[in-house]
């Protein structure tokens, strides 16, 4: 008799315990779920604000070079009717090879007054050097443009392109390369030293991205992406656009 009673009591106890455990599981699941959602929302908001802060910081003190064209984002070489936009990063090896292969062709097209080349020095490979060489070199090229030597300077930068993953060229070397193409004034050296155009390089990069330029080199002839980035491809596209 008393054994059965005990059994009933322990059964009842177990039922109550199970109910309590279920209740606890439900409560824990609810609160941990809310916690997870809160953590993720906060993480996303932090990311957003950090990125906005970085952008503000990087574009503070923006100085746009007065000689820049195309909403102040490019430097023009030549005065021909067909517009060729070239988006390059001075750190990008493919850009270096592209420049080397089309150099004489571009010179010829400019000399024949067929094209206006707009160079957009963008900085998407800052992570490929330990000193944000992409931004520094793009800024230096803007200083060179102010000194009237963009075409020469951008060429000498590619000719002296540093290895990816290294420290890049230091500011002293950037100034020395400028001197080698006739940028001997203190304005150029000062602008490189002070990083006058670094914020501008960031802005140009953003403008390029908003135009769908996500890699370098991007070459657009009369607004159309050039698929064949060879001398022949370039000439063919210019002919087609000029006709």
């Amino acid at each position: 008799m008393s054994g059965k009673k005990n059994l009933d009591r322990s059964k009842a106890k177990r039922v109550v315990q199970e109910q309590l455990a279920r209740e606890r599981r439900r409560r824990v699941t609810l609160w941990t779920s809310l916690g997870v959602v809160a953590v993720l929302v906060i993480a996303g908001l932090i990311g957003w604000s950090v990125a906005a802060g970085q952008e503000n910081e990087k574009t503070a003190g923006l100085t746009t070079p007065s000689v820049a064209v195309d909403e102040g984002t490019a430097f023009a070489v030549g005065t021909g009717p067909v517009k060729v936009d070239i988006y390059e990063d001075f750190m990008c090896p493919v850009c270096g090879r592209f420049e080397a292969s089309v150099q004489t062709t571009i010179d010829q097209l400019v000399a024949d007054n067929k094209v206006t080349v707009q160079y957009h020095p963008i900085a998407i490979l800052d992570h490929a050097s330990s000193t944000e060489y992409s931004t520094r070199s793009a800024g230096a090229s803007a200083a060179a443009a102010q000194g009237g030597k963009f075409a020469e300077y951008h060429r000498v930068l590619f000719a002296n392109q540093p290895q990816e993953g290294g420290p890049g060229l230091d500011d002293a070397k950037l100034i020395e390369l400028g001197r080698s193409v006739g940028l001997t004034d203190s304005a150029f050296a000062g602008a490189v030293d002070d990083g006058t155009y670094h914020a501008w390089a960031t802005k140009v990069t953003g403008t390029a991205a908003s135009r769908g330029v996500n890699s370098t080199p991007t070459v657009r002839v009369a607004g159309t992406d050039l698929e064949q980035r060879t001398p022949q491809g370039l000439i063919a596209a210019v002919e087609a656009a000029g006709a």
């Binding site: 824990v28 993720l40 993480a43 990311g47 950090v50 970085q54």
Partner: protein
């Protein structure tokens, strides 16, 4: 009541789930950490998919690495594992859809899964099949945790009063 054998099975599953949980946590932590150093680059990687306008892509690219790291930490701690795994699965499905979209449109991009991404240079070919296969692998991990969310050394377990 559980028989002794099924209790033993549950314990075994818990150990496997624990490994899966930590594995998936590592995936998220690594993916996030590799992107967090260059948030602008992360935005450009999203932009390279040509799905969103740049302004939107920038916000997604900035938030994403932080979300990935947060998910990684949540899984590492074992907090609301089933929900975390579910969100992981949804994110992975979105990534897979994005890669498939880039593939279908013939875009030449790096998926930006574990890097700053962006368009590929000449002579580089995208590895979409590989990227998708890898993400499906991660999806399997997330699916496993959805199915068996109970793990050892988790906050969930501690809160539930488990040993």
């Amino acid at each position: 009541m559980e028989t002794r054998q099924s209790a033993r099975m549950t314990a075994d599953w818990r150990w496997i789930s624990t490994g899966v949980r930590l594995g998936l946590a590592t995936v998220w932590l690594v993916a996030g950490a590799l992107k967090i150093q260059d948030l602008a680059g992360s935005g450009r990687a999203v932009n390279a998919y040509e799905i969103f306008p740049y302004e939107v892509a920038k916000v997604i690219g900035a938030a994403q690495p932080f979300l990935e790291i947060a998910l990684g930490l949540l899984l590492l701690a074992g907090l609301a594992v089933r929900l975390s795994a579910g969100i992981s699965a949804v994110l992975l499905l979105i990534f897979i859809a994005g890669i498939a979209w880039a593939w279908a449109r013939g875009l030449q991009i790096d998926c930006g899964c574990f890097s700053a991404g962006g368009t590929l240079g000449a002579g580089q070919t995208p590895k979409y099949a590989l990227d998708i296969a890898r993400d499906i692998g991660f999806l399997v991990l997330a699916g496993f945790l959805l199915w068996r969310p109970q793990t050892r050394y988790s906050i969930d377990g501690a809160l539930m009063g488990e040993k």
